[in-house]
Symmetry: C2
Subunit: 146 residues, 2 copies
Amino acid sequence: MFDILHRVGIKAPLADVHAALTQVDRLAGWWTTDTTGEGQAGGALAFKFGERGFIDVKVLADQPDRILWEVTDGPPEWIGSRIVWAPNVSGDWTVVMFSHTGWREPVEFMHDCSTKWALFLMSLKSLLETGKGQPWPDEISIGDWD
Amino acid sequence: MFDILHRVGIKAPLADVHAALTQVDRLAGWWTTDTTGEGQAGGALAFKFGERGFIDVKVLADQPDRILWEVTDGPPEWIGSRIVWAPNVSGDWTVVMFSHTGWREPVEFMHDCSTKWALFLMSLKSLLETGKGQPWPDEISIGDWD
């Protein structure tokens, strides 16, 4: 199995980071504007990206220090994979350790998703620090696949 | 072993991408302004980031479709790891497949480097598409460790 790993430091309280990872209106501010569902444990979230596709997850945990999603539908490579958010406080910062685990092969699409996750984490950081993220459909382009 | 993987599409000719990965004055335009050495196979490159540290690599390959560096000195976690650039042409684009392979453990610093690599790849893309990258010391901050 292969994992995408990232780390970002956000100058915002843990509670705000937690809200941005568990509340639909806040998720819509940094990943995709077309976000629906329930972000609490036991709920399900649907992230749509127009004609580019969609990602459905079930929420397995929503603790302050660990938010866990399992992908139930979307790109074949994503189905069954897990997305783990581990925020922790470090002085004035909330540090988010991120992993998208359980890729079966390190395919080209995994490389692409790794880079895109970094940019969406920067969008999350921007939302919390400036009030404005860059969710789909206005996210930063990383190349020919966007 | 654990790998950092990324993919970026750059609207520039392969030769320009190759130059940006093998010529000191071009490397200085997207990673760190303090770059010295020789980027051809058999050469060595020194990347300095002021008080933050440095990275020394030897260049094992400099082909158009595969540029390979081995890290000879720098952060302990980096020593012995390999950085592989695999550019390939796709229509008007040069797609760069990137990997930083041979991490012994998926430590927090690896998470941090994964996110930073994505931003430096965006800096490379920006240099080639707009003429201006964002190398150290003016690179995009990803948090408390910058």
